[in-house]
């Protein structure tokens, strides 16, 4: 029987909203103590407004977890205004109260690897901040590969660079328009290092074509890895069965329950 771990449906209040150019935003929410133990890769479902559109909650990776005053726990969400739901959320204000269901799903595994690569495509970097912090807590070294169309898509680049350096690693960026780092796709510099055997594990999050390319690359190089997937999702807690991810054995996994983090060799890309 599928019984989830600890999750709560709570009222969270918006502590701060950071709006960034090109529709990116970061939201800090005051939540309950349960969220302090959120694993990197887990997510929340956020109810935006009380109207018919959006009707369903929206899924967001837990971008960061921090302590506020006293015992207060904060989580950060990183998003980009695309549709009506994300736009309304990006325009929320400090003091707004939102219903938040979480932490949901299974996060990234944290094994004893010697050197790992974190690979983000655009706003797919969202869950990788918490992952980077947890890796740093364990004294592990990682490189951060950050790709986007343009430098404005590389949200929180300086923070990622700082954490990566602290770990003893390096941030490698690529943009399709050449505004930051190498021009082209992030898989190109990653492949150069993968074939040299630099890494023994790869973590990825971003658009599906990037994740499929990552899975392919890792498979060719014989390296294990995991990706946090994004699929259309109805409920986030396993009730609607909407978020099917095809597995290699022909069956379907639920992204919200069995994921959103999957091993590269588990998914039919």
């Amino acid at each position: 029987m599928l019984l989830c771990g600890r999750m709560e449906d709570i009222q969270g209040s918006v502590v701060a909203v950071h709006r960034r150019p090109h529709s990116y935003f970061r939201l800090r929410l005051h939540v309950t103590a349960t969220f302090a133990d959120a694993e990197p890769g887990q997510f929340v479902m956020v109810q935006v407004g009380h109207c018919l559109e959006p009707f369903l909650r929206r899924a967001f990776s837990i971008h960061d977890v921090s302590r506020g005053e006293g015992q207060d726990v904060h989580i950060d969400l990183l998003g980009k205004e695309i549709g009506r739901g994300t736009s309304l959320l990006g325009q929320s204000r400090a003091g707004d109260v939102l219903r938040i269901l979480g932490p949901l799903g299974h996060g990234f595994q944290m094994k004893e690897h010697s050197r790992v690569a974190l690979v983000a495509g655009g706003v797919g970097s969202a869950p990788l901040l918490l992952l980077a912090r947890r890796l740093l807590d364990r004294g592990r070294t990682f490189d951060f590969f950050y790709g986007g169309r343009s430098q404005s898509d590389l949200s929180r680049r300086e923070l990622f660079a700082r954490l990566t350096e602290e770990s003893g690693g390096e941030l490698i960026g690529t943009t399709e328009d050449g505004s930051f780092g190498e021009t082209g796709l992030i898989t190109v510099p990653l492949e150069r290092r993968l074939v040299r055997g630099t890494y023994d594990f790869v973590y990825g999050c971003g658009p599906m074509p990037l994740l499929a390319a990552l899975a392919n690359l890792c498979s060719r190089c014989g390296i294990d890895g995991e990706a946090a997937l994004e699929t259309p999702m109805g409920c986030g807690y396993g009730a609607c069965l909407g978020c099917a991810v095809p597995r290699l054995d022909g069956s379907f996994a639920l992204c919200c329950k069995q994921g959103p983090v999957f091993r590269f060799d588990e998914v039919r890309w």
């Binding site: 559109e53 609607c240 099917a244 095809p246």
Partner: protein
């Protein structure tokens, strides 16, 4: 003030209150006990169960539309045996009545399913899914043809003494004709409605938003359709009706009762508010108390048609 009695009796089924979870929106009942107060429910209708487990359709299986949700899950389920071995015992502790939603590709499969649960005491009733729009075979083949539906219901009727519910499709010219067929076949209760066939396209990619292109629409967008069909069926057919379609607030529950429903199922709302049934049960009690009513019975079919002309 004495507490309001929310219990209802319909077609041999006694519910502690008239708020049930709709099939396919609450798994097999037990999984979400940490998110929803199962004690508050009047009844739990399981995900559609088939003889063998089904994998369901490839994704995308779900998308949101204005005020609604389109889905094409394709009846992914664990199969009747896994339900009976893993879930039924755990459901015993709740006052909610457990209703199994059954799906077959042939009349024989429906009959086997209903026979299999006939002697399971925890199961209060059987709901036949003859209206799923998202699978190629079975289900809707029966739900759109009065003669085949009548034969199917009669065959299942012979196999069980449990209250027999048939869930009707809205995607037909005359839901009443199908409701009458169910009555002739020996059904005890009708649930109206299953999802409304629809589709959605992304204008940027020019692609349909569901893998199967077409899917079933649910949520507040379909409430007027559901209300009309409940009204028609309750007027024309002498069987109790369970209303389904877009219930969000206690006012929706009351409106379904006024249209002729004896109970309602809550579905899509659970996706955004897992504990909605508890809220609705409380709000319904408050509503009745405020109106000075001692139960729901006086609301059932109590629509005031004075001064109207049926169009």
């Amino acid at each position: 003030m004495t507490p309001v009695d929310l219990s209802v009796e319909l077609g041999g089924l006694l519910l502690p209150n008239p708020i049930l979870t709709a099939s396919g929106t609450f798994g097999y009942g037990l999984e979400f006990g940490h998110l929803a107060d199962l004690e508050a429910l009047g009844g739990i209708v399981t995900k559609g169960l088939s003889l063998e487990p089904r994998l369901g359709n490839p994704g995308p299986r779900i998308c949101e539309t204005r005020g609604g949700v389109l889905n094409s899950i394709g009846l992914q389920n664990i199969g009747i045996e896994a339900f009976l071995s893993d879930y039924v015992a755990g459901l015993r502790q709740y006052p909610a009545q457990v209703i199994v939603n059954l799906f077959g590709e042939t009349a024989e499969e429906y009959r086997k399913l209903s026979t299999r649960v006939r002697d399971v005491p925890e199961i209060a009733a059987v709901e036949l899914n003859v209206s799923c729009p998202n699978v190629e075979r079975g289900g809707i083949e029966f739900g759109h043809d009065p003669k085949r539906l009548e034969d199917l219901v009669a065959s299942v009727r012979d196999s069980t003494d449990k209250p027999l519910i048939v869930k009707l499709s809205p995607n037909v010219t005359s839901p009443v004709a199908l409701a009458e067929a169910c009555q002739r076949g020996g059904a005890d209760i009708l649930s109206c409605i299953n999802t409304v066939m629809g589709m959605a396209i992304d204008h940027r990619s020019r692609k349909p938003l569901l893998h199967t292109v077409r899917g079933g629409l649910s949520g507040p967008a379909i409430k007027p359709i559901a209300l009309r069909i409940v009204f028609d069926v309750a007027r024309e057919v002498d069987l109790p009706v369970i209303g389904i379609g877009g219930v969000e607030a206690v006012e929706d529950v009351v409106e379904f009762l006024l249209a002729g429903a004896s109970a309602v199922q809550v579905g899509t709302l659970l996706f955004r508010e897992p504990n909605a049934p508890r809220r609705l049960v409380k709000e319904l009690g408050d509503y009745l108390a405020e109106a000075g009513l001692d139960g729901v019975a006086s609301l059932i079919g109590a629509i005031d048609l004075d001064g109207t002309t049926l169009g």
